[in-house]
Structure formats: C-alpha cells, structure tokens
C-alpha cells in the first residue's frame, strides 16, 4: 500500500483526469480528450475506467466492480483487489452498499441513488467510428451536429432485418445535442441511462477519452417514428431466481443443446435467492 501513491496514479495525473471529468460533466455527452496513462493491465481490461475510478475514489468509499453484471469474474476481482491495495478502499458486491461502482458493459438492476457514482469501461467511445474512421471527420460531425449517418445505419438495419438489429452499444442522444456511445451495454439497459440519480462517468483508456452524464440528464435512444427504440431481453424467467424483469445471460449446460437463462447481475440474483425466490433450475 505505501509503495504506491494513493490510488496508484500520481497527483498531477489525477488533477488532469479530474479537470477532464469536470468539463465532461459541464458538456454532457461530449468526449473530452485526456492524456491516458499506461496502467498495470492491458488495454481492453478497463484501463479507462480504472483511471477514472482512481481520480474519483477516496479512502472512505465502498467500491464495487462488475464485469457483464458479475462480481466474480477475473477482471472484476483483479480491479477490486487493485484498489483495495492501492487506495485502501472497502469493497463490496452489494449494489446498494457501494458508493463507487466500476462497470464493464452493464448497469446494475437495482436502481442507483444520489451519492453513488457509476464508472463505465469504454472500448470505443466514438459512436460514429465504425461509420467514419477518420477522427478529423467525426469531430466535425459532432461539431456540426451532423448525425444523419447514424440514422442511415439504423435504417439499413431495418431494411436488412426488418427491425433495428443493434442490440448493444445502442447510440443515444444526450440533452438533444451530442450522440453518445453508452459503451457496449445491452440496449435493455439504455432506458436506465436517462434521469438516473447517480453520476455516470465514462473512461476510454486506449482511445484517451472521458465523458459524463450528470444526474437527471435527458438521454434518448435513437429510433424512428415507425420503428421506435425497443429495449429487449431473452424472453424467459431467470432459472435461478425466477426474475422476469432482469437482463439474462444464456448459459450452455451440456453438449446436446441444453441451455439455461440466468440473471447477468449476480448480486441481484443472489439477493433475490436469499429472499426466497426460486427459479426452475434452483438447487
């Protein structure tokens, strides 16, 4: 613990990240460039989220990390231990007990409250990148509010599949201005982005961008009048806890086509099971 500065990063780096976070909050949905540092983990493992968490954490915080909703994957466990060691924070798996939650690709099922902070790990922060690879062009498109290309992409989905087939990293418009990539969360989670009581911060380490949503911000998932946005999930109850309102993972259980659907949010599922809820496959 004493071998490192508090929360691993040096003070000057944290000041730089904190300034970027403040500008991000002042311009919701706009991607603020920042001088991303090398972290003791590879790109793609949450270096952006880790740097934002390092700039935000205080020793009094209770820290939770989820990876696709789960508290017990390698990525989640190692980031939790990283901040236990370098920031001396208490960690938890309970959503309600956490003050700072770092997440990879999910929003917890349990509604977040004021005083909580949700930090997203973002791989590609630019929603227009797969449509226009040049940064100079996408920057201009954001400046001019020229988002027609994104609607063409969604329209081509409809032309090809009969519906908008984009199921994750579904683009949103923030406060009627910036189109934003909500990170690869399932579109089931999109309705939770807007009007959230907690502060949402997004960190992309490799791409060197930070962006933010203040609480109670208007976030609209893009759509068309005749093909409006629709949140979707597997049409099953959770096999472990019986929940019908949570996002489900499909788990292959044998080599003869057997499968089951379970909550992706492990804390939500465990809490429900502890309260006596049982699904079809529960022990």
């Amino acid at each position: 613990m004493t071998d490192y500065n508090f929360a691993y990063l040096d003070e000057q780096t944290k000041r730089m990240i904190r300034r970027a976070i403040l500008k991000g909050l002042a311009i919701p949905g706009y991607q603020v460039p920042f001088a991303s540092r090398e972290m003791p983990m590879p790109y793609g493992w949450g270096t952006g989220g880790v740097q934002v968490s390092a700039a935000v954490l205080t020793p009094q915080d209770t820290f939770k990390v989820i990876d696709q909703g789960a508290d017990d994957t390698t990525n989640a466990v190692s980031i939790r231990q990283f901040f236990e060691r370098t920031a001396g924070v208490t960690t938890t798996t309970r959503t309600a007990e956490a003050t700072v939650i770092q997440t990879r690709h999910r929003i917890p099922e349990e509604p977040l409250t004021e005083g909580q902070i949700l930090v997203y790990q973002v791989p590609i922060p630019e929603p227009l990148r797969f449509l226009e690879p040049r940064e100079s062009e996408t920057r201009k498109m954001h400046a001019l509010e020229e988002y027609g290309l994104m609607h063409v992409k969604l329209y081509e989905d409809i032309a090809r599949h009969g519906h908008i087939a984009t199921s994750y990293a579904y683009p949103v418009k923030v406060e009627g201005r910036y189109v934003m990539d909500p990170s690869p969360i399932p579109k089931f989670d999109n309705p939770k982005l807007g009007n959230m009581a907690a502060i949402q911060l997004f960190g992309a380490g490799r791409e060197q961008r930070i962006y933010a949503l203040p609480p109670y911000t208007e976030v609209v998932s893009l759509g068309f009048e005749d093909h409006p946005f629709e949140a979707s999930k597997a049409d099953h109850p959770c096999a472990m806890c019986g929940a019908t309102d949570s996002y489900l993972d499909e788990v292959i259980v044998d080599d003869t086509g057997g499968r089951m659907f379970v909550c992706s949010d492990t804390d939500y599922c465990a809490t429900r099971q502890a309260a006596g809820h049982r699904g079809s496959e529960a022990a």
Binding site: R15, R18, L22, L25, P59, E175, P214, P215
Partner: protein
C-alpha cells in the same frame, strides 16, 4: 511573509485532494447545490474554498488569471509555491479567479471551439454571499429546479445560449462552493 507562503496548503495532498474533488464534482454535477470545501488556508483575500479549488485543480499545466485585488504579491507567491500555475492574461487562461466585477468582461475568456468545446475557461467567482435562493436553475444535474444566488442573470443566460461552447463557473464564499456549468438554464 515567507512563512505565510509556505503554509496553508494541503497537509495530506493525496487524500485531501481526493476528498475535495468529490465535493467539487458533486457541485458541478448538481448545479446550485452548495458544498463545504475546507483544508486550505490561503493568504487574504483568497477564500479557503477558492484556495482548496486551486490546490486541487491547478498545476504547471493550467494557465491562471488573477483578477483585481487577488493579483497581489501574497496570492501570487502562494500560488507559485503550492501549484506552480503560470499566471497569464484572460485570453490564455484555463482558470480565472476574482470577484464578479473584477473578472469582467466575460468575452475576454476562451469559450472553446466547436471541435473542442472543452477548451474553455473555468471562472472561480469569489462571492460575499452564497445561498440557495435567487435565480432559478434547470438543466442536466437538476431533477426539477434549483435556486442559487447569482451575481448576474443576463450574463449566464448569454453564456448558456452559446452551448456547447461557453464558460463554466464556480462560486466560492468562505469555505463553501457551488457551480454553474454552461449547460444550466438560468431564469
């Protein structure tokens, strides 16, 4: 004199900066809310909240403009020792600090470009009073409405009209602080 310059910073910079930032971030994320910001003992006329803000945000990479009577030897020396921030004219400033009247005119500060709206100045306005009453605020970070005592109305309406360009403001009074980002609508 010399001793005054060397004291008044954070005794435990890493932890105190982290705690100060959380208050400052909450203030910026929830415009109109007033937060306590202690830990710094800067020389007069700099307020403790403004001093803590400077310690937490400024370093050699952040050009700073001192407006009016804040541009004095004691404050210059304290900022030089504790932050190293280069002192510049308003047009080059990333941060500017002073009373509302001393900071005028607002047109002197960078408001960002349409490509990079984040390259805009943050103004720290030292106030004689700071209460949750007066102008009505709406926008991101505010569930319904919030109220804040503002030194002006028209200036903040004009600033918001430039969104996504514009200036962002902190208001400091003693050891308390509030914020008003460019995204907030003021009535």
């Amino acid at each position: 004199m010399q001793a005054d310059i060397l004291t008044g910073g954070f005794a435990d910079p890493a932890h105190q900066s982290a705690q100060a930032f959380r208050h400052v971030m909450e203030a910026m994320a929830r415009p109109g809310t007033i937060h306590a910001l202690a830990g710094a003992v800067p020389p007069a006329p700099l307020s403790p909240a403004a001093g803590a803000l400077l310690l937490m945000l400024c370093d050699t990479e952040t050009p700073l403009y001192l407006a009016g009577e804040l541009d004095c030897e004691a404050v210059r020396a304290w900022i030089a020792f504790h932050t190293g921030a280069p002192l510049v004219a308003p047009g080059q400033a990333l941060f500017a600090i002073g009373t509302w009247n001393a900071l005028m005119p607002l047109s002197a500060y960078p408001i960002g470009t349409s490509d990079y709206p984040d390259r805009a100045a943050t103004l720290i306005v030292e106030c004689h009073h700071l209460t949750a009453s007066g102008a009505t605020l709406t926008g991101p970070g505010i569930e319904k409405t919030a109220s804040l005592s503002l030194p002006d109305l028209r200036a903040f309406q004009d600033n918001h009209a430039q969104f996504p360009l514009g200036l962002d403001f902190f208001f400091t009074c003693g050891d308390r602080l509030a914020a008003l980002p460019r995204s907030t609508e003021v009535r």
